[in-house]
């Protein structure tokens, strides 16, 4: 089992719990977990697509939703999923990263959006943890 994320039961939508030693790892793991919901990451083509991402947001939770929403949009537009994340800078309100992805062969499901449902990034003794609900 992949330790970067864990699926959580939800009646209608899907949810994942992610952890990270720091915000950068938390954000990268969340993105990987989301990619895994969209398609089988192991079956994705070699990562030939590279995108630079720079975002600012109101707070850490809004930044997380903005980050995942950005990847979702790029995935839909370019028909790919992103599986490699070089996090250059992640503060609670600013993010810079280079992401790499490849074409998708067979979608698992369509994620409509990343929600704020009970979203809270909490500090743990090992870093940070959060649970994200996706509307599908």
């Amino acid at each position: 089992m992949d330790r970067r994320f864990e699926e959580v039961e939800h009646t209608a939508d899907i949810a994942i719990r992610v952890q990270g030693r720091d915000l950068a790892e938390l954000f990268a793991n969340a993105a990987y977990g989301m990619a895994n919901q969209i398609a089988d990451v192991d079956a994705a083509g070699s990562p030939t697509i590279e995108r630079e991402i720079a975002l600012e947001a109101y707070d850490a939770e809004t930044l997380l939703v903005t980050w995942l929403g950005e990847l979702l949009y790029l995935s839909e537009r370019d028909g790919c999923i992103f599986t490699g994340f070089r996090m250059r800078e992640v503060t609670p309100t600013r993010l810079r990263a280079v992401v790499r992805g490849g074409p998708v062969s067979g979608y698992r499901q369509s994620i409509k959006a990343v929600t704020f449902n009970d979203l809270e990034i909490v500090s743990t003794d090992r870093g940070y943890e959060t649970t994200i609900v996706f509307d599908v």
Binding site: E9, T115, N117, V133, D135
Partner: protein, 483 residues
């Protein structure tokens, strides 16, 4: 944590949670259901989300959950909340991401036996003419300027483009155009996503279905709607695609600072909102109305695709292959409506999230031919099971701001459904029941397995019994198309 014992049964089908149960509730909450459905509300977070809804500023009378309720995000699915327009709020999370997800029902002039020999060809033609699946483009591509007109004019744009008939427009909630749409409040990204997807079904629980009218409960109303036993009809279930998802996403994020600005205390960040009467609230409404209109046009363009498929396969084979529109309803929407609160008529901002408008005879805005009976309410069941046509009631205006259920309502997570059901096996079972199935993926099929949903008939018995709508006809599927 709210307990079952906190609720009082105020009627056979109404369970009330007094506002004294939580310090932050402004009004009581009400669940509609029989004893079994009521029990089901405690198996996920429906009750907590409903109680959260009751905390929203300006909410009047009750926070309501229709009997197809289940856990959502922010509001529960099946949730209805009406807010004052002077002191109340409007919430993008209270409408949901798929703005104006809804259902359209088309009626044929054909009986089951006339269509049966062509069912496979018809299903294939529908699959071809009505694009479905993840990331699929739509039947129509529009320029950015044209999109602005489309989302402002709604069904009138379709009429002008030869994508609608006058009677289609008349037989659509709000005549297919919600007033107040303001494309300048819609992001460039939403427009970009929207331009390529007009006339596409999408994936998830969206579907296109050929049904047969199996039973008529109210012959007079059924005749008014143009429905008769053994008739072939078509249901289209979809929404505003990437355009609406992006509008909701944009505003759930951009309204976060408004919560602090207007000193709003929210138990769930997904309930993010702004005063109805504020620049932020008006901006969201203007953008949401654009997405509402986009979805009306989307279903309209798909309806033309359905007509084309019927013509391709049935022309020369049957005497009349044409399809007329029974009605089109929204089930994720916020609208300004007048309702009576404490004996006073009041303009309210009614949020319906997984709930359908249900209004009785004489309601302003209903087409002339339905004025005498009330509005058709379309309730699709889960895949392979029955769907219902109901008619709106005066009583729904008193009980639920003129709202009723929107479907069966999930009880099982997609994950659990996948563990329990094999897509290929389900397809075989459906085919054994005489239902032709075309699906983008077996996994998608399994996630929508009937076992993952409540029994739609049970839900409909509750709304009928409670008076939220009355039964008119039951439909049985003969062909299903899924993204």
């Amino acid at each position: 944590m709210v307990q079952k014992s906190d609720f009082q049964r105020v009627d056979k089908y109404i369970w009330e949670l007094p506002k004294s149960v939580r310090d932050d509730m402004r009004v009581p909450a009400r669940l509609f259901g029989d004893a079994e459905l009521f029990d089901a509300a405690f198996r996920d977070r429906t009750v907590e989300q409903l109680a959260n809804t009751a905390t929203l500023p300006g909410i009047v009378k009750y926070a309501l959950a229709m009997p197809d309720f289940h856990q959502g995000y922010g509001l529960p699915i099946g949730g209805v909340a009406a807010m004052r327009t002077d002191t109340g709020v409007i919430s993008p999370g209270g409408v949901g991401y798929d703005i104006n997800c809804g259902v359209r029902l088309l009626g044929a002039h054909l009986e089951r036996e006339e269509v049966a020999p062509y069912l496979r060809d018809l299903t294939a033609a529908l699959y071809r003419e009505c694009p479905s699946g993840v990331g699929e483009g739509g039947r129509v591509r529009v320029s950015e300027r044209e999109l602005d007109e489309l989302v402002t004019q709604g069904a009138r744009w379709a009429l002008k483009r030869g994508q609608a008939r006058q009677e289609d427009v008349a037989h659509t909630e709000e005549q297919g155009r919600l007033a107040g749409a303001d494309p300048s409040q819609v992001s460039a990204r939403a427009k970009e996503r929207g331009r390529a997807q007009v006339g596409s079904l999408g994936a998830g629980n969206h579907f296109l279905e050929i049904d047969v009218v199996e039973e008529i409960y109210d012959p007079d109303v059924a005749a008014t709607f143009g429905l008769w036993e053994n008739q072939v009809v078509v249901q289209i279930h979809c929404g505003s695609r990437g355009f609406g998802h992006q509008v909701c996403d944009d505003y759930v994020r951009s309204l976060q600072p408004a919560v602090r600005k207007y000193n709003l205390e929210l138990p769930d960040r997904e309930l993010v909102c702004a005063p109805v009467d504020s620049p932020e609230g008006r901006a969201y409404y203007g953008a949401m109305a654009c997405a509402v209109n986009y979805a009306f046009v989307n279903r309209q363009v798909l309806a033309m695709g359905v007509r084309q498929a019927f013509e391709q396969v049935l022309a020369g084979q049957v005497k009349d292959f044409d399809l007329f529109q029974v009605y089109d309803v929204a089930h994720n929407i916020a609208k300004f409506e007048e309702h009576e609160v404490d004996g006073q008529r009041m303009k309210l901002c009614v949020h319906r999230k997984g709930a359908t408008r249900s209004v009785g005879p004489g309601y302003a805005g209903l087409p002339a031919d339905y004025q005498g009976v009330g509005q058709p309410v379309l309730v699709p069941g889960s895949m392979g099971t029955a769907s219902y046509v109901l008619v709106g009631t005066q009583k729904a205006l008193e009980l639920s701001f003129g709202s009723t259920c929107h479907g069966a309502g999930r009880v099982m997570s997609r994950h659990a459904a996948l563990k329990k059901v094999q897509g290929s096996e389900l397809k075989r079972e459906l085919e054994e029941q005489g239902i032709v199935v075309r699906a983008g993926s077996n996994k998608g099929l399994a996630e929508e397995a009937p076992a993952a949903y409540k029994d739609v008939s049970r839900v409909v018995e509750v709304v009928h019994g409670a008076g939220l709508a009355r039964k008119v006809a039951r439909l049985r599927p003969v062909a299903v198309i899924k993204g």
